[in-house]
C-alpha cells in the first residue's frame, strides 16, 4: 500500500485528504501520478505543474523517484507559511 496525501488547495480539488494505493512492484512517481490522475481527473493537469511539490516519506522527490509498498507520498501546492 502507498499512502497518498493531498494538502491545501489540492485536497480541496481531490475532495479527499488521503487515498491508499495497493501496489505490487515498485513504480516511479510518474507512474503513480497516472493512476492518481485516473481517480482524480481534476488533479491530472495540476499534478504536472512545476509549482507542485511532491514528497516521498517526507523528503522532496521527482518524477523518476521510485516508490514502493509502505511509502507515503504527498502532493503539495506552493508553501505559504511564515
Amino acid at each position: 500500500m502507498i499512502t497518498v496525501r493531498f494538502f491545501a488547495t489540492l485536497r480541496d480539488m481531490a475532495g479527499v485528504e488521503v487515498k491508499d494505493y495497493p501496489v505490487g512492484e515498485p513504480l516511479t512517481l510518474k507512474e503513480l501520478k497516472k493512476r492518481i490522475g485516473d481517480d482524480f481527473p481534476a488533479l491530472r493537469e495540476i499534478m504536472d505543474s512545476r509549482s507542485i511539490l511532491v514528497s516521498v516519506n517526507q523528503e522532496f522527490a521527482k518524477d523518476d523517484s521510485v516508490v514502493r509498498d509502505g511509502d507515503e507520498v504527498a502532493f503539495m501546492p506552493p508553501f505559504s507559511g511564515g
Binding site: 494538502f7 509549482s51 517526507q58 503539495m76 501546492p77 505559504s80 507559511g81 511564515g82
Partner: protein, 142 residues
Amino acid sequence: MTDGLVRIQKGVFSIEEAVERVKGASKGIGGIVCFLGSARDFSRGKEIVRLEFEHYPGMAEKKLEEIRQRAKENFNIIEMAIVHRVGRIEIGEDIVLIVTASAHRNDAFMACEWAISELKRITPIWKKEITREGEVWISETP
C-alpha cells in the same frame, strides 16, 4: 534532539519564553535577533477576517529542524529557535517566530533573515485567507 527549540503549535506562543530557551544555550550570547510574523488586516487589496494555517505533520517539523541545523552550520550563531502556529489565527496575532543568537549581532541578523526566507521556501505550511467574499488558499500557483 531539539529541546523544544523547533515547534509547530496551535496556541499562541510567548516571545520571552522562546528567547529564554535560546539564551539557555550559552552565557556567551551578546546579540539576539527575533523575527515575528503577524496577521495583517489587509492583503492583496482585500480585508482579511482571519487566517488559517495547515501543515504537513512530521515533515513540517523536520524541515524546521533542518533549517535550524543548517543555520548553525552556515552562520556564526550559537542557537536558534523557531515556532510556527497552525490552525485559526486572528488579525494582529502572531504566526511565526524565529530567534537567532550569536556573540556579535551581524551573525544573528544574517541567520534570522536567511531562516525566514528558507522557512517560506521549504516548509510544508499553507495559509488560507478568510475574507468577507470567501476563503482562498495562498500560493503563487495555482
